[in-house]
Amino acid sequence: METHGLDRILREHPFFAGLEEDFCQLVCGCARNVRFDAGQHLFREGEPASEFFLIRQGRVALEIRAPGRGAITFQTVGEGEIVGVSWLIPPYRWTYDAKALEVVRAIGINATCLRDKSESDHDLGYELMKRFVPVLVQRLQATRLQILDVYGSPA
């Protein structure tokens, strides 16, 4: 695997901006370049959360399927953002579908590999947590706003 190019791409991605050299090497060892065509799924609800993605190009729709209503998009994620946080928390399964809306180029990070490295190097684990928790908090706040349905008609 060509880790040299990946190393640069990883550092240039906003999610890993400023990551220390040692940590970068560790993360790089779990990473690969991936590409999805428009309409292709990055993953589907219920599947094991074995890989998460740093989006470099293109947009991804996060969808939930509801009986009789088809797929409802609750968020789109684009360049510079990440797709997938369920790999952090047991039972490590996706709770929604992620579908490419156009050609998507991303870095896929093997979740088991990164979990194992974080278990044996807690400094790495803590560094990752500091990067993931703000994303989780943002998504939690967004969900609150969506649940409140603030634009909904009062009728």
Binding site: R59, A61, L62, R69, G70, A71, I72, T73, F74, Q75, T76, G78, L101, Q138, Q141, A142, L145, Q146, L148, D149, V150, Y151, G152, S153, P154, A155
Partner: protein, 286 residues
């Protein structure tokens, strides 16, 4: 280029409590339960207005409510109001037809700081119907375009069907001198744009937080979240403006109906600088 003269804020009314009569010239449906009315005076001309100001509109026999002006301040002869039918008066307004009479008082209140923002970047954050009171500000920002740095419109609403002024937004999207991002809270498969809450657009827009003026309008919860995100991005509270809503009766600072702390929304607002109302916004219920 010389700056255009400041609009006259107070209407030269003889008795500010006495509505003059206007007539509906046109009515258009914008979204479910949302209608835009074009109103012309039955006689005489209309006073100029500033972006962000509102009129008190009366449906005779039903009641009177504050409604923002949503048209172009450069064309004051046409009064444009966008109304969402939520209760008795707004529903009656939204059902008016060509030729029907409407009572008019105004324009009232403070406006968006469009003049003061000259030279800075401007970020307009609108949620739902909040785009209506911001549209006059956008018209002014885009008219003498050279006077501003970057301009971004960040608009969030409930679903694709709820997007207001869709054709105009498309036209703005095609311009090179304004960055337009639209997001909806939920969508089905055929929606090609973004899904997510309006605050998620703030990190996508390009602006220099140290020299940015932000104009925010929408439901109060959405404004609180948006202002928090703008501050997180480095925009100072003194550079953020928001428009507040409270029930109104007189609209001229006499009855106290719209009082919020020491401020009367009708007279001191509806547009406020954030640092001046921050403490009141934090209170549970006033």
């Amino acid at each position: 280029m010389a700056a255009p003269p400041e609009p006259v804020l107070a209407a030269p009314l003889v008795d500010p409590m006495l509505p003059r009569v206007g007539r509906v010239r046109a009515r258009r449906r914008d979204a479910p339960l949302v209608f835009t009315l074009e109103i012309e005076p039955a006689e005489g001309s209309l006073p100029p207005f500033a972006p962000g100001q509102f009129n008190m509109l009366t449906v005779f026999g039903v009641g009177e409510v504050p409604i923002s002006l949503s048209g172009d301040p450069a064309r004051p002869g046409r009064l444009i109001h966008t109304v969402r039918a939520v209760g008795p008066v707004s529903t009656a307004l939204s059902r008016l037809d060509r030729g029907d009479p409407v009572g008019l008082r105004g324009p009232f209140g403070t406006g968006w700081p469009v003049e003061q923002a000259a030279g800075s970047d401007v970020v307009v954050v609108a949620g739902g119907l909040g785009l209506a009171p911001l549209r006059p500000a956008l018209y002014q920002l885009l008219a003498p375009r050279r006077r501003y740095g970057r301009i971004a419109l960040l608009y969030g609403t409930r679903s694709p069907a709820d997007i207001l002024f869709a054709r105009e937004i498309d036209a703005w999207r095609r311009r090179k001198d304004i960055e337009v991002h639209v997001t909806v809270d939920h969508a089905t498969g055929d929606w090609p744009h973004q899904v997510g809450v309006v605050t998620s657009l703030i990190s996508r827009a390009r602006f220099d937080p140290a020299r940015t003026t932000a104009l925010v309008c929408g439901p109060e919860v959405m404004m609180r979240f948006a202002i928090g995100t703008l501050q997180g991005a480095g925009v100072a509270s003194t550079q953020i403006y928001l428009s507040l809503e409270r029930n109104m009766k007189c609209a001229i600072g006499l009855c106290g109906h719209c009082q919020m702390g020491a401020a009367f929304i009708c007279r001191d607002g509806p547009v406020f600088r954030h640092d001046r109302v921050r403490d009141m916004l934090a209170l549970r219920e006033i």
